[in-house]
């Protein structure tokens, strides 16, 4: 080694210095080869799991975070017909969190010539209250607004996908997201959720859009690296309401296991999917799911009468009238 030089890991495909070493794949790559690898892998996952074709229209749910912006970038680079959907939640938290998120998305679009299609739904403008305000007015969100937020986002994403004539709704869930959810569901043997979790959720009701997760085999760290290498600026601050969230604790636990057993998170997810498919695990639970149609919005529900989303917003707006807000 020359004086002053340090030994560097080099890319498997060239002599350039590596920018990432993925221990679970025993693969170190330089920036350009890492980007190429992510693109090829995403294409492979889309085909392997039958997510969508190049003729289909894809709606990408973008939050301004690394994963969703990386997903939109990858799909555009691969030549898919991908539009964006941003749901303005009205979260401030002292950080102007929602405004900042939106700013990163607009910057992403501007950096690509400004010609991308972005659907924007402002929750307060459309339904009468921001997510934090709605949470304060309902029992569902009194402890934490995350439940109100999740319910609203799922409803809105599905509605925009259906009304916009999109074939598929794509989200930026990565392997760490999916493994943490699987871990949480397995801890309490939540068979209903275990029966459904996967990279593709086919519509089980005419009012549902097909949902896909093209990044579900990438580690969260890889997606952050992709965003950095591609020069994608994203909102780095965590949602102020996510502090102490259970999912984050599960991710930290799984990362502790990953440190001593590289690849364990990926195996946990993939072997679950394989075992479920090969042994028809939870098949009976899936068949038993009885979906009805919400008379108010037309989206599916397991309730008799209005769906949880419509009930919740009905309560929020009734409370707003009572409070005069």
């Amino acid at each position: 080694m020359q004086p002053g030089k340090r030994p560097l890991l080099v890319c498997r495909h060239c002599d350039e210095k590596a920018v990432i070493n993925m221990r679970q794949h025993k693969l170190a790559l330089c920036g350009p080869h890492f980007v190429e690898w992510v693109h090829k892998q995403t294409e492979r996952f889309i085909e392997k799991y039958g997510m969508f074709t190049r003729d289909e229209r894809v709606l990408v749910a973008v939050s301004g975070g690394k994963d969703s912006l990386a997903l939109w970038d990858i799909l555009l680079e691969l030549g898919y017909r991908a539009d964006g959907l941003y749901v303005g939640l009205g979260i401030d938290g002292g950080l102007s969190y929602s405004d900042e998120s939106h700013r990163y998305i607009m910057e992403f679009i501007r950096a690509r010539g400004g010609k991308l299609t972005l659907h924007t739904v402002d929750v307060a403008g459309m339904y009468g209250a921001s997510i934090p305000d709605a949470a304060r007015l309902t029992r569902r969100g009194r402890e934490k607004p995350c439940s109100v937020c999740g319910l609203s986002k799922r409803h809105i994403m599905n509605r925009v996908a259906r009304e916009g004539g999109y074939d598929v709704l794509a989200t930026g869930h990565n392997l760490d997201d999916e493994a943490a959810v699987l871990f949480g569901n397995a801890l309490v043997w939540s068979v209903e959720y275990l029966s459904r979790q996967g990279p593709v959720m086919p519509p089980s009701h005419p009012g549902l859009a097909r949902k896909v997760k093209p990044l579900f085999r990438f580690y969260e760290r890889e997606m952050a690296a992709y965003a950095i290498v591609r020069g994608i600026e994203y909102i780095y601050d965590e949602c102020p309401h996510a502090t102490g969230a259970t999912t984050i604790r599960y991710k930290e636990l799984l990362n502790q296991l990953e440190e001593s057993s590289p690849g364990i998170k990926l195996q946990f997810m993939l072997r679950f999917l394989k075992a479920r498919e090969q042994h028809s695990l939870f098949a009976q639970v899936r068949e038993q799911l009885d979906l009805r149609t919400c008379p108010t919005c037309g989206q599916p529900t397991t309730n008799d009468g209005a769906c949880s989303f419509c009930r919740m917003w009905e309560r929020v707006n009734a409370r707003r009238i009572e409070d005069g807000s």
Binding site: L9, V19, R221, M223, A224, I228, Q256
Partner: protein
């Protein structure tokens, strides 16, 4: 390793300086990035390191005077 407040005085040339959000850490030269991340109380599985504007791998051995920005990768709730 010692955690410093954000506005601490300029470290000496012999230190390796790592920043993570609003915190600053110093570690001894000769340590790998992976070990330095762990010494800062962070998970190497959930942290990326950037030096001179470029990502660096965990195996890079840090030298005196290196300035490294650490980025957490966990998100969601």
């Amino acid at each position: 390793m010692a955690e410093q407040p954000p506005n601490h005085s300029t470290p000496t040339n012999g230190d390796v300086i790592l920043t993570y959000r609003r915190k600053t850490f110093t570690v001894a030269p000769g340590m790998s990035v992976r070990d330095a991340i762990a010494r800062c109380g962070l998970s190497p599985e959930a942290t990326l390191a950037v030096m001179d504007g470029e990502l660096i791998t965990d195996e890079v051995v840090l030298k005196a005077g290196d300035r490294v920005k650490l980025l957490g990768t966990i998100s969601g709730g």
